[in-house]
């Protein structure tokens, strides 16, 4: 189809134009990490008996004995070859660590986003249908309540109530009960892998494990999503074409959903894309609180101990995902909005 082709070309162009940004991120992170006052060599050579010599060994091992431009050159070369270096913390290649942990983060963030959208879109629509009514204010208050609690507090509270007090939730220690058997990793997404393995029980266990952290994260993003839904819904409800729809006697459902909502959802897609990328990078605290083996908590730990490679790898990964999500949003937008291709 012509429009899809055009969309793809546009996406391709956008991808190319985002490469400089990725490169910028790469270099910037590299430099930022070197500015950190901590010396990873000292930290990691900190066995109860490490001395100067050990520190030098580690330094050499990390390539820190070279000059900065040299290090950068080596780093860029390595990245070019897909080698993100090795994490001192886990002792593993960063690429491998990230590859293992990314599905966890993605699964969590996606679920959270879906929960948030499921809650936010109807709420936003409801509020927009009766602007300034009690419902509107109620929705607003409810959404705002979600954003005003730090995620680590809501997370700990949810654990306290649902795990500790009520015992409804499984123990908040990662993606799946340690005693459960793990399905063969095909996609890395547990929910998908369980389904592929045909293990419904396991799927349910994984889903339960996912609920609390996903809710914690979702609570935080319902507000912006509901807000944008309401706003764009108000715009499209007030637009001429909705009046046209009314003037020809379409049913209320058709007016609200087919005419108003379908148009209003476009900005929501954009915001959802942004929300997704930010959430993925910012869910450090949720991952910490729920012992979620995701990439963000990995990066946080690495950052505190100045383990350069994982932080650099993580930032690069996040930036790439940011670019990819933007592309995806673009494509979705192109499909959802026929006008996009002409712009």
């Amino acid at each position: 189809m012509g429009t899809i082709g055009a969309t793809l070309i546009r996406a391709g162009r956008r991808f190319l134009s985002s490469l400089p940004a990725l490169f910028g991120v790469l270099v910037f992170t590299f430099l930022l990490m070197r500015v950190l006052p901590g010396d990873p060599a000292v930290f990691f050579a900190s066995g109860p008996s490490a001395g100067k010599e050990e520190i030098e060994v580690v330094r050499k091992q990390l390539g820190l004995d070279r000059s900065l431009p040299e290090q950068l050159g080596i780093y860029l070369y390595d990245v070019g070859r897909g080698n993100l270096g090795r994490s001192m913390m886990t002792g593993q290649p960063v690429a491998k660590d990230l590859q293992q942990r990314l599905p966890a983060s993605l699964e969590l963030t996606l679920t959270a986003l879906v929960i948030a959208l499921i809650a936010a879109v109807p709420l936003g629509v409801l509020a927009a249908l009766r602007p300034n009514s009690l419902i509107d204010h109620g929705v607003r208050l409810f959404c705002s309540l979600g954003v005003c609690v730090p995620t680590f507090v809501s997370g700990l509270l949810l654990i306290y109530v649902f795990y500790y007090l009520l015992g409804l939730a499984p123990d908040p220690t990662g993606r799946i009960d340690v005693f459960a058997s793990v399905p063969p990793a095909r996609t890395g997404f547990l929910m998908v892998d369980f389904l592929l393995a045909g293990d419904v029980e396991g799927w349910w266990a994984a889903a339960r494990q996912l609920m609390l952290p996903a809710f914690t994260m979702a609570l935080f993003v319902i507000a912006p999503l509901a807000r944008i839904t309401r706003a764009s819904m108000l715009v499209s409800l007030g637009s001429d074409f909705v009046r046209t729809a009314r003037s020809i006697g379409l049913s209320r459902w058709q007016i609200v959903v087919t005419y108003a909502l379908r148009n209003a959802i476009l900005p929501v897609i954009t915001i959802a894309g942004i929300v997704f990328s930010t959430m993925l990078g910012a869910n450090v605290l949720v991952e910490k609180v729920f012992s979620w083996p995701g990439v963000a908590s990995y990066a946080l730990d690495a950052l505190l101990v100045s383990d350069y490679a994982p932080v650099q790898g993580f930032v690069l990964l996040m930036a790439s995902i940011f670019v990819a999500v933007n592309l995806l949003v673009d494509v979705l937008y192109g499909i959802a909005d026929p006008r996009a291709t002409v712009a």
């Binding site: 010396d39 123990d171 100045s306």
Partner: protein, 511 residues
């Protein structure tokens, strides 16, 4: 296996390597290696105030069926267990032991610096006599030689297996062993996900346990749960069997509820200090240091930061003003006395006080932060303005290493705690662990001499002398030995406090 046969242990940190020798190894990695690898010898255990702790003075054979020290103390001969097998079924031979010990003293690994303290420095010292006999020669008698072989590092590796994974650049198979285990220990590592969990299953053939039988638990799950409150919840609800490193307040609460077993052992090989850099003014003035020592709110700090869980090292009264013992650490005759502190400041020539920074590690914030607040408050009363600095872990270690911090709190641990060891490693030289940058010729001389002192009484006298210098000069202020709180389900048995400050999983069983 049933849940009852599985031990689920949750911890803040993570197992990051299967070979404890790799720079950067965590305490959890050490703990796991204790179970997955055997060493030639191991420490015994003893009871201290009714709690089981490791005993430095009892060395038992582990892979060694027996060992003997020559009368001149220069030769140690190990006879290996004939029935010991690696996890792949191949027998443990003296060749394997030699390769492993050679690796420990020659490869760029952590063991090198450790074994040095036991006069084990070169591969020439290890000699294979026959497939089951190994002889270790020492340049001089060293009472730390044998204990060193019981520490974490000198693991005995399946050398054939390891060598098959060695490369010309990596002759000691460092990178392979990091992710693969080639030991003969009580547990065989099944899953290893750094930062998440490690799972091991019981080695049924292992018979080095106390009554010559395999470990009690069939399966071992070591899981990282960074949030301390969650760890407390887990063990309280019975989802985890054992947890250490809880927040003091949580331990207190769990203890009060009485449902769980809480074993609180003072970490008698660890000390928490408030350190002053003796080379940075004004702390180069001994009277300033004394003033600080007299102005610290010891009791409040102990209560608020530690919830009283540990052994205080303050508030002693030394009869006749001399150290009552040559051990280390011993309680110091210091207490909060602002008048005295002011007097010292005056004597130091800074009666108005001064301004300084007090640093601590983000990782230790739970105890250090309340401490810091109290220190600041108290020192301000004698005119010392304190700016609190909270440093990320790597930054803290770097600053300490570069001797940039004037005033901070840190802790030390010694695996082989003896007075001379402490003084030599933590009070001499331009090394990271010499927090106070102490440079005291007399102290160094005595400490070095004590190292090879065979006479117990003389050693005790030298220890007292060192303690006296320490108090005299007030290099830094020992505060306390924090307790190791292990909280476990009521039916768990056999917990022993280990030199690694970790659990030895092999000791544990379920009633």
């Amino acid at each position: 296996q049933s849940r009852a046969e599985t031990l689920r242990y949750v911890t803040a940190a993570t197992v990051n390597t299967l070979d404890p020798n790799i720079p950067g190894s965590t305490r959890e990695a050490f703990a796991l290696s204790m179970s997955s690898y055997d060493r030639l010898v191991s420490f015994g255990r003893k009871q201290l105030n009714g709690k089981w702790v490791f005993d430095l003075d009892t060395i038992n054979g582990e892979l060694a069926e027996s060992f003997s020290v020559s009368s001149d103390g220069l030769k140690i001969t190990f006879k290996l267990r004939p029935d010991a097998k690696f996890h792949d079924g191949s027998p443990v031979t003296a060749e394997d032991v030699k390769w492993s010990l050679d690796r420990c003293v020659t490869a760029p690994v952590l063991g090198k610096a450790q074994l040095l303290t036991g006069s084990l420095t070169s591969a020439d010292q290890f000699k294979v006599i026959d497939p089951l006999t190994l002889e270790v020669t020492l340049p001089r008698p060293d009472k730390l030689a044998l204990p060193n072989l019981a520490t974490v590092y000198p693991i005995i590796i399946n050398s054939k297996l390891a060598k098959s994974h060695a490369t010309p650049e990596d002759p000691w198979a460092l990178s392979w062993l990091k992710e693969n285990e080639a030991g003969s220990g009580a547990y065989i590592v099944e899953t290893f996900k750094p930062g998440e969990q490690a799972i091991a299953k019981r080695n049924e053939a292992w018979n080095r346990g106390s009554p010559d039988k395999p470990a009690s638990f069939k399966r071992l799950i070591i899981q990282s749960v960074p949030e301390p409150a969650t760890r407390a919840n887990l063990v309280e609800r019975g989802d985890a069997d054992l947890v250490i490193d809880l927040q003091a307040s949580d331990v207190q609460a769990l203890e009060a509820k009485g449902k769980l077993k809480v074993i609180s052992t003072p970490q008698y090989n660890a000390v928490t200090f408030i350190s002053m850099n003796n080379k940075i003014p004004p702390f180069d003035n001994v009277n300033v240091r004394r003033a600080v020592a007299a102005a610290l709110p010891y009791d409040d700090m102990f209560k608020a930061a530690l919830f009283g869980r540990g052994t205080p090292l303050f508030g002693a009264s030394w009869a006749d003003g001399t150290p009552p013992s040559g051990g280390y650490p011993i309680p110091q005759p210091v207490k909060l006395d602002l008048e005295k502190a002011r007097a010292y400041l005056k004597e130091a020539g800074v009666p108005e006080g001064f301004a300084t920074t007090f640093s601590f590690n983000v990782g230790q914030a739970a105890t250090a932060e309340p401490m810091a607040a109290l220190v600041k408050e108290s020192l301000e009363k004698i005119g010392i303005k304190v700016d609190i600095q909270k440093l990320p872990d790597a930054q803290m270690s770097t600053s300490i290493n570069e001797k940039k911090l004037p005033f901070f709190t840190e802790g030390i641990v010694a695996w082989l705690p003896s007075t001379d060891y402490f003084y030599r490693n933590f009070y001499t030289g331009n090394q990271r662990w010499n927090y106070s940058s102490t440079d005291n010729a007399e102290l160094e001389k005595i400490a070095q001499a004590a190292r090879f002192e065979a006479d117990k009484a003389k050693y005790e006298a030298e220890g007292k002398e060192l303690n006296a210098i320490h108090f005299e000069q007030m290099f830094q202020v020992p505060l306390w030995q924090p307790a190791q709180d292990a909280v476990m389900v009521a039916n768990l048995d056999g917990y022993v406090y280990q030199f690694t400050r970790q659990v030895d999983y092999r000791n544990l069983s379920r009633k």
